[in-house]
């Protein structure tokens, strides 16, 4: 298996896309460390991986808090070694029309979805630079390119992640470290279950594939980007959206 002997850190791995990514990378042979914001979440990650017969475990880490990131990474370094694969997946939404958007909703989304990516990436770079090998994959969103009414904060954060990723790719590619984004469209997760029937119907109309995506269909693209076969792909955003937006 291609990722044998490598430690992969996946943020926000309790459910949805993050969980699917954690399991896919573990299936490829990586030791996966998934993060959750609660102890119950971390335990669920551990038992989920164990039940599937995979190597890995969950830890508590709140990506919106710098101290929590530092403590979590220290734990990973001691328990497993330096992660050479980082998947920044953790994200939140606080949707509202701009005229009604509150400062705290703007800040919370920017902290959790954008600043966290800066912090975790910075923290793992030393280990990757030493190994002369690294994979950073940031989960963006189709709306980073499209825009979306009611998601000014989320779109800003995700577009920020894409710009950040391109800069990171330029800085680190000559060290064997690639940085890419995967931008899912509408995937069948708790985040899209919040939508009502009318919103869902309107959504399906603009998806040529005529269905929502599965978390596993995002995870398989992430797995490709971690592989040695993707060593020359960097600074790229790969869309996984059933054709609803083609960049």
């Amino acid at each position: 298996m291609s990722l044998e002997g490598k430690v992969a850190l996946v943020t926000g791995a309790t459910r949805g896309i993050g969980q699917a990514i954690a399991h896919e990378l573990a299936k490829q042979g990586a030791e996966v460390v998934g993060t959750a914001t609660s102890a119950e979440g971390a335990e669920a990650i551990t038992s989920g991986l164990k039940a599937a017969g995979y190597k890995g475990y969950g830890i508590v880490m709140n990506v919106a808090e710098p101290d929590s990131i530092e403590a979590g990474l220290k734990q990973v370094a001691e328990q497993s070694g330096a992660p050479l694969i980082l998947v920044n997946n953790a994200g939140i939404t606080r949707d509202n029309l701009l005229m009604r958007l509150k400062d705290e909703d703007w800040s919370a989304v920017l902290e959790t979805n954008l600043s966290s990516v800066y912090r975790t990436s910075k923290a793992v770079l030393r280990g990757m630079a030493k190994a002369r090998w690294g994979r950073i994959i940031n989960i963006s969103s189709v709306v980073a390119g499209m825009g979306n009414a009611g998601q000014g904060n989320y779109c800003a954060a995700k577009a920020g992640v894409e710009g950040f990723t391109r800069s990171l790719a330029k800085e680190m590619s000559n060290r064997g470290i690639t940085a890419n984004c995967v931008a899912p469209g509408f995937i069948d997760t708790d985040m899209t279950k919040k939508l009502d029937d009318k919103q869902r119907e309107a959504m399906l109309e603009i998806i040529p594939a005529g269905r929502l995506g599965e978390p596993g269909e995002v995870a398989s693209v992430v797995a490709f980007l971690t592989s040695d076969g993707a060593a020359y792909v960097t600074g790229e955003t790969i869309h996984v959206n059933g054709g609803m937006y083609m960049g």
Partner: protein, 77 residues
């Protein structure tokens, strides 16, 4: 036990991929040894690990030559 000078030069060789004979005390990392900005960041990290010390960013920026690095380590460890 190697001297600070020997240990610094060894790290410089490893990090910048240069031969020991090319490294003089007066060598500038960027101008003489061909380091780019990322190389100098990595070099400082490697020195921090070797000498178990933390070099603040504002100090790290001043470490332009092999001798600068030796002086810093001698003064701070």
């Amino acid at each position: 036990m190697s001297t600070v000078e020997e240990r610094v030069k060894k790290i410089v060789c490893e990090q910048l991929g240069v031969k020991e004979s090319e490294v003089q005390n007066s060598s500038s990392f960027v101008e003489d040894l061909g380091a780019d900005s990322l190389d100098t960041v990595e070099l400082v990290m490697a020195l921090e690990e070797e000498f178990e010390t933390e070099i603040p960013d504002e100090e790290a920026e001043k470490l332009g030559s092999v001798q600068n690095a030796i002086d810093y380590i001698v003064a701070h460890t």
